[in-house]
C-alpha cells in the first residue's frame, strides 16, 4: 500500500496541471498590453472571421505602427452566452474581462450596461444615421449593416409581391411555396415576423419598443400572432419553419419553396459563390419594409485599453475599410452612402441600404422568440 499516495498524486497531476494552466492563461490576459494592444472578441461565420483576420486587423496595425490587435473568434457564436456571462461577471467584480472590444452579443452587453460610453471618442460616428446608432443601445457602435430581403425564384414568380399585404395574399394563393425560419434561429425569419407584428402596431408604441423595454405594449401584437398562425396551413409542408437562416436558403435553392425572407449579405455572397441559382432574385418590400440592422462593436466598460479600442472602432468606419467590408462580406456600409464610391452605391441600390428599419430592443426580441413559439407553430 505504500505506493498508493504516489499513484494518487500521479492521478491528480493532470488536474493540477489543468488548473495551473487555466490560472496562468487568465493572468497573461490581464497583463497584456500597456496601452498598445487590444483584444477583440468576435463571433459569426467564417466570412466574418476572415474579414477581421485578413482585412480589418492588418489594416489597422499597418496604419498604427507599434499596436497589436488580438482576435478571439467564436465560430457561429456557439459560446456567446458564456462569453457574455464572463464579461458580465468580470465587470461586476471589476476584473479585467480579457476583452477590450466586443463584436458579438453587443446588443445584450449594451442593454446590460457593460459598454463604455462613446461620447466624442469615435468622430466617424457623426456620419452614421443617429437612429441606427440609438437602436444599438448605450455604447454600441455600428460598423456594418444588412437587411432582410424577399428572395424569390424569378422563373416561377414573374411578378413578385411589392408590399407585405401582397406577400400575405401570395402566400395564401400558393400553399406550401413559402416559409421563414423560426425567429429564434435567425434574423431573416425574425424580420418577417416583426414586419407582420408591426403592420398591426401603432407607430408610437413601436418607437418606444425599439429603444426601451415596455412589456405592457406587447399586447399590441395579438392580431399579428393571429395572422401569423393563420398562415400555418399555407407555408411549406403545412407549417414547417426550419431552424436557421441557412436552412431556408437551402429550401429555396433546391426549389422546395419559391419565396422566403433572406439576409441580404447571405444572399449576395451565396449567389457569388454559386450555391444560390442565378434565377433567384431579391428585393425589398414596402408597408412595412423588412427590418434591417447594423452589426455593432462596443468598448467594454471594464477594459484597461479603452482609448486604443475606440481607435479601432473609428478606423473601421473609414470609407476605405467600409468599402472592404462591402466587398468581402456584402455588408452594407454603416456610414452614409454619399461617402462611398458610385460602384458600391450601385451594388446596394435595390436593397435601399440607407433606409434601414431597426428591429426591436433585445428584450422584446427574446419575447418575440418566446411568444412566436407559443402562438404560431402547431396552432
Amino acid at each position: 500500500m505504500r505506493r498508493s499516495p504516489v499513484v494518487a498524486a500521479a492521478l491528480l497531476a493532470p488536474l493540477a496541471l489543468t488548473l495551473a494552466s487555466c490560472s496562468s492563461g487568465s493572468s497573461s490576459a490581464g497583463t497584456a498590453g500597456g496601452g498598445t494592444s487590444v483584444i477583440v472578441a468576435a463571433s459569426g461565420d467564417t466570412n466574418v472571421q476572415e474579414l477581421w483576420q485578413q482585412t480589418l486587423i492588418p489594416d489597422f496595425e499597418k496604419a498604427h505602427p507599434g499596436t497589436k490587435v488580438t482576435l478571439t473568434f467564436d465560430l457561429h457564436g456557439n459560446n456567446d452566452q458564456q462569453n457574455f456571462a464572463r464579461l458580465a461577471a468580470a465587470t461586476q467584480q471589476k476584473k479585467d474581462p480579457g476583452v477590450d472590444l466586443v463584436a458579438s452579443f453587443t446588443d445584450k452587453a449594451a442593454s446590460a450596461g457593460l459598454l463604455a460610453e462613446v461620447g466624442s471618442k469615435v468622430p466617424s460616428l457623426a456620419s452614421v444615421d443617429p437612429k441606427v446608432v440609438a437602436a444599438g443601445g448605450a455604447g454600441a457602435i455600428p460598423y456594418r449593416a444588412s437587411s432582410v430581403l424577399l428572395a424569390y425564384d424569378s422563373a416561377k414568380v414573374p411578378a413578385p409581391p411589392k408590399t407585405l399585404a401582397d406577400l400575405l395574399t401570395w402566400i395564401k394563393a400558393h400553399p406550401g411555396r413559402f416559409t421563414y425560419n423560426s425567429p429564434k434561429s435567425g434574423g431573416s425569419g425574425q424580420a418577417f415576423v416583426v414586419s407582420v407584428l408591426d403592420s398591426h402596431t401603432a407607430t408610437a408604441d413601436r418607437d418606444q419598443m425599439t429603444t426601451g423595454y415596455h412589456k405592457d405594449l406587447e399586447k399590441d401584437w395579438a392580431p399579428g400572432w393571429a395572422q401569423l398562425a393563420s398562415l400555418n396551413a399555407d407555408v411549406f409542408q403545412k407549417g414547417v419553419y426550419p431552424n436557421g437562416n441557412n436552412q431556408v436558403l437551402q429550401l429555396l435553392s433546391s426549389g422546395q419553396i419559391d419565396m422566403a425572407p433572406v439576409w441580404s449579405d447571405q444572399f449576395i455572397s451565396g449567389q457569388a459563390a454559386g450555391t444560390i441559382p442565378a434565377t433567384m432574385k431579391a428585393q425589398q418590400i414596402a408597408d412595412p419594409t423588412f427590418t434591417g440592422g447594423a452589426a455593432y462593436v462596443g468598448v467594454t466598460e471594464a477594459s484597461k485599453h479603452q482609448d486604443l479600442a475606440f481607435q479601432v472602432a473609428d478606423f473601421m468606419l473609414q470609407p476605405d475599410e467600409q468599402a472592404k467590408i462591402a466587398e468581402k462580406i456584402a455588408g452594407y456600409p454603416a456610414i452614409s452612402m454619399s461617402r462611398m464610391s458610385s460602384q458600391i452605391q450601385q451594388k446596394f441600390a435595390a436593397a435601399a441600404a440607407n433606409t434601414l428599419r431597426p428591429g426591436y430592443n433585445p428584450d422584446h426580441a427574446s419575447d418575440i422568440n418566446n411568444l412566436w413559439d407559443q402562438n404560431v407553430p402547431g396552432k
Binding site: 494518487a8 458580465a88 407549417g239 414547417v240 433546391s254 422546395q256 427574446s366 413559439d373 402547431g378
Partner: protein, 305 residues
C-alpha cells in the same frame, strides 16, 4: 462472512479511497456542486454563484432569504400548456424509441446467436456503425433522406405511389434517435444473448421445446439484466437528446432538450430552463431506478450482495 476491520484492512480501505478520490473529487466539484447550485436557482436563489446569470435573466421568481424556497418557477412552467405538451411528447418519444431499439437489438442478437453465418456477423457489425458517425451529420442525412425531395419520396414516385414526408416531423425524430441509440443497445443485448451457454439451449431443444419456446424460457430470462440496462440507458439518453430533435423535428411539439436550449439562449429565461432540467432529471431518475434494480438483481443472483 466479513473479517473484522483491523489496522491493515483499514489501511487498505483508506488506500482504496485515496485511489478513488481524484474521480470522486472531480465529480463532486464539476458535477455535484453545479447541480446543487442549479436546483437552488430553480427554487428562487439568485445570489452567490447564480448572481451572474440572474443579472442577465428576465422574469425570475426570487426569494429574499437563504432558508426560504419558492416553487413559483415550477408553478409557472407547469401551468404552461406548451411545457406540458412538450414534456408528454418527450416522454412518449423516449418510450417509443426505447421499445423500437430493444426490439431491433433483440432481433439482431437472436439472429447472431441462433445462426452463426457471415450474414449474421455482418449484420451485427453493421448495427454498430452509427456509433462512428457524428450525430450532427446523421441528423442532416436523415432529414434529407426523408425530405419532400428526398430519396424515399423519389423512389416511391418512380414506383408510382406517394410516400409521406417525414422531414421535420416527430417520426423523423424517432427514426433519428433509434439510429443513434441502436449501436449501444445492440452491443449490450448481443453480448448478453451470446453469454447464454450452448448447453442450456441444447438442453431446452432436447426437452422438446420449439425455438420460440427456448428463447422465451431460457435465453430471455438470462439476458434480462443487460436488456434492462440497455433500455434504461437508451431511455435516459433519448430524454435529454438535443441534436436529433433540433435538426429533424417540428417547431411544435418540441422535445425538452430543444426547449431548454431555447429558453436559455433565445428567450433569455434561464430559470425556466433550469426548472425543465430538474424535471427531466426527476423523470430520468425514474428510469435510473430500473437500472439500479436490474444491477441489484444481477449482483444478488451471483451472491455479491
Amino acid at each position: 462472512m466479513r473479517p473484522t476491520p483491523t489496522q491493515s484492512t483499514l489501511k487498505h480501505r483508506l488506500g482504496g479511497l485515496a485511489l478513488a478520490s481524484p474521480p470522486l473529487l472531480l465529480v463532486t466539484i464539476f458535477v455535484g456542486f453545479p447541480i446543487v447550485v442549479a436546483v437552488a436557482y430553480s427554487l428562487g436563489h439568485t445570489g452567490g454563484p447564480n448572481a451572474t446569470v440572474s443579472l442577465i435573466a428576465k422574469d425570475q421568481v426570487t426569494v429574499d432569504a437563504w432558508w426560504k424556497q419558492s416553487p413559483g418557477a415550477y408553478g409557472v412552467l407547469l401551468r404552461d400548456e406548451r411545457f406540458r405538451r412538450d414534456l408528454l411528447v418527450t416522454v412518449l418519444v423516449s418510450l417509443a424509441t426505447t421499445a423500437i431499439v430493444l426490439v431491433l437489438a433483440w432481433v439482431i442478437a437472436l439472429y447472431v446467436r441462433l445462426t452463426d453465418t457471415w450474414v449474421s456477423r455482418l449484420l451485427s457489425a453493421l448495427a454498430v456503425i452509427p456509433m462512428f458517425i457524428p450525430v450532427v451529420i446523421a441528423s442532416w442525412v436523415i432529414l434529407t433522406f426523408y425530405a419532400s425531395d428526398g430519396f424515399v419520396r423519389t423512389v416511391a414516385d418512380q414506383l408510382g405511389f406517394t410516400a409521406p414526408v417525414w422531414g421535420y416531423t416527430t417520426t423523423a425524430v424517432v427514426i433519428g434517435l433509434v439510429w443513434t441509440q441502436l449501436p449501444f443497445a445492440t452491443l449490450m443485448v448481443v453480448s448478453g444473448v451470446q453469454g447464454v451457454p450452448d448447453a442450456l439451449i441444447e438442453a431446452g431443444r432436447d426437452a422438446g421445446g420449439s425455438i420460440p419456446r427456448v428463447v422465451w424460457s431460457v435465453v430471455a430470462p438470462m439476458a434480462l439484466v443487460p436488456t434492462v440496462i440497455a433500455g434504461t440507458f437508451t431511455a435516459i439518453g433519448t430524454l435529454g437528446s438535443f441534436t436529433v430533435p433540433y435538426f429533424t423535428g417540428p417547431n411544435a411539439p418540441k422535445m425538452l432538450g430543444v426547449d431548454m436550449n431555447d429558453y436559455f439562449q433565445s428567450y433569455n429565461l434561464p430559470q425556466s430552463s433550469v426548472v425543465m432540467a430538474v424535471v427531466v432529471f426527476v423523470v430520468a431518475s425514474g428510469f435510473g431506478a430500473v437500472y439500479v434494480w436490474a444491477n441489484y438483481r444481477s449482483s444478488a443472483s451471483t451472491g455479491r450482495v
